[in-house]
Symmetry: C2
Subunit: 465 residues, 2 copies
Amino acid sequence: MMVANHKHAFSQILDPARVLDDPSSLHDYGRDRTRVHEPAPSLVLFPKTTEEVVRIAEYCARERLPIVPSGGRTGYAGAAVAAHGEVVVSMGKMDRILGIDLESGCVEVEAGAILENVQHAVAETGMYLPLDFAARGSAQIGGCIATNAGGLKVIKYGMTRELVLGLEAVFGRGQVLRLNTSLHKNNSGYDLKQFLVGAEGTLGIVTRATMQIVPQPKRLNVGLIALSRLADTPPVLKEARLRSLDLTAAEFFTGACLEAVMAHLPQMRSPFPIRYPCYLLIEIDEGEHDGQLTAFLEHVSGIPGIEDATVATSPQSFRELWALRENISESIGTLGLVHKNDIAVPVSSMPAFVGALESLVRERYRGLDVLLFGHIGDGNVHVNVIDRTSKDAAGFETRVEELDTALCELIQSYNGSISAEHGIGLLKKRLLHLQRDPVQIELMKAIKHTFDPANIFNPGKIVDW
Amino acid sequence: MMVANHKHAFSQILDPARVLDDPSSLHDYGRDRTRVHEPAPSLVLFPKTTEEVVRIAEYCARERLPIVPSGGRTGYAGAAVAAHGEVVVSMGKMDRILGIDLESGCVEVEAGAILENVQHAVAETGMYLPLDFAARGSAQIGGCIATNAGGLKVIKYGMTRELVLGLEAVFGRGQVLRLNTSLHKNNSGYDLKQFLVGAEGTLGIVTRATMQIVPQPKRLNVGLIALSRLADTPPVLKEARLRSLDLTAAEFFTGACLEAVMAHLPQMRSPFPIRYPCYLLIEIDEGEHDGQLTAFLEHVSGIPGIEDATVATSPQSFRELWALRENISESIGTLGLVHKNDIAVPVSSMPAFVGALESLVRERYRGLDVLLFGHIGDGNVHVNVIDRTSKDAAGFETRVEELDTALCELIQSYNGSISAEHGIGLLKKRLLHLQRDPVQIELMKAIKHTFDPANIFNPGKIVDW
């Protein structure tokens, strides 16, 4: 059937003003933050109610018309890309915050609610939504759930999955799942909401969610440790746990990352008089007990690789230390051609893995630099491969594609993850077999078929179903 | 085929000394803590390796011989009952603790490892496994995972699900899933381990697990608040969250529960000079900040229903306050015929729900008492229905079966859970339709069929597949 017919049909379901096919909308809503695939959806729909989503799904199941569920489009894996005439179903007009229940400890929202708006609404009540990452101003809760978003607070509060208490989702041929509400405990049969979390829109569309909220941190403090080698970070983390520090972040970056930040933002103050091979930023909630972080840094100063350390002494120095970490991604972007990977290995394997990675690149990819930073407390590192001199973007892409394969093989040998936070989407599909054996991939396909017999929800993402 | 033939076949797979059919073993391994169904397995098998579990499953799939996966048999829902000639596969001889990784924050165990043994091994390293409940001395990690066990520490650390990092399981016709290892982040396709957690053995047998371990609490303190009515507990919990207390437990019990404890254990010291309608026990980690709990109790003393409060002043009074809560279940058992339900409603609905429940019993079940206690911080309450005078156990069972239906209908109207921690198993199967609509039950059946096409894993539990 022609696009015009579909448009007409959807205009019976939705206000026609919420059925778009102008080139600008198709372009904007047909992609996420990746730039590998050319966006080419056929239509963009903006439902306002779950009932409208149901009717869209019913129609698409009848017509075998593929749907790309769409949130804030801040993803890095291409899961929200519509490159083959799909219908984009944007949740952007289902963005209400439905209620906050302080006694039960939860906030209920429509899936299109923007993360930052929900954070603010919760903060106004005196509570805290412990989900936070750089794209907070655009990312939607439904997208956070579909990608099981991580971010800056995982070390203390877990991934998005651990914050989802209840879900409403449309799946199959337009059936609705209403799963749990605000209950923290409900062992009555399979926990079906777990299937939707992290499924990247391939099992259905999340339309509402109830998220756990928690007490606000009491008083955060941050310190920066300079180390002569990465191998000394796991022992520091181990000591932090053994001392029962209330760790709220443990971020790591190499000296090359700091150099990039200082070059890009020369007004920033260098944390130490000289440069070191790597840095570990530790944030803890000191509560009422001032000086805890200073005492800890003194305690670990005997670990051989620890060269120096500094603790924030004011709100300004707190922000300055965090700014070193937060400006890495942007600063690296100015160095040349950049290719990003978001991977994880067990924390205890991190030093050996990084050593092997650096050897691999030095030996087989001359001219490329590896800049590493990330959430080391979770074993999660962003691997940035950089060509500082070449202008040949296509040649670079070919090289890093080959390097990605070698990287993922290396990750496999360290029992790591080829995608710690970002998901598989389109971009890591070809490498999934390095993470998942045939038994697992067959099982994933069977589950997909169970939830989505018409194969309308984000087909072609994660694997070819 | 005859049992003798199966016995012969399994004796080719396992050392024959680990293939049992003596009446005592069949009786002991054919049941959990429930006493509703008569145990009647055909054989009890004790594999020692995953490979042996694989070969057992392959054989059972070929012969369509149902398996009951079996842990410490401490469940309260009948999920580990073998009442129809099933083969019990006990994990009791796969009980090794394989390793503790302090840098990655995890412990790896075989599924049959006993919870208390794992707790101790972790504690010896200076870390903490935050999974704890009364059956710790018998319960096995695999059973904790299969039932998504809760317990005393959920309010701070979550259910078992949130502690499972990696899993190995045998499913289908003997395939093995090796899912994640010690990674805290791994967004590469569906998180298949979530499907096994809480599935009560219906999707396969967990053979190994990697569990998250966390820093030990610094210094716990406990207080007991006396209230004139239940309705005042949610505001106290709300205040605790708004003051960012590090809540590690929030337990509640009615005056009748305390009376039962004092009658059963007259040597125990009464916490207050007079009796009150209900009590709220609050445990927090005070860290370095002595007096936090006392300050909080002063802060909430203005809430109208708060009658009195006391804080532990020594290790002994800490234990004494906890003993009031911990002895309830045993003490209630001495009062007469007892029927237990483990349910949840949103914390904010708890007062209205309890009011409605008490009216229901008063009006329609004359002669029965309701005694309530439980993990109110999670919205989880144990509903104990008691007949203090009758000796007619059969008549009592008939009455409480009818009452259970009315109770679950009431729970449904409050968006609650008919089984917060214990699962569905055999005992709550007939009530599952009050929790799950037909769409959800059909989806659960389809998932069961996907994982277990031969229908050999715990058939007849949760629903009739």
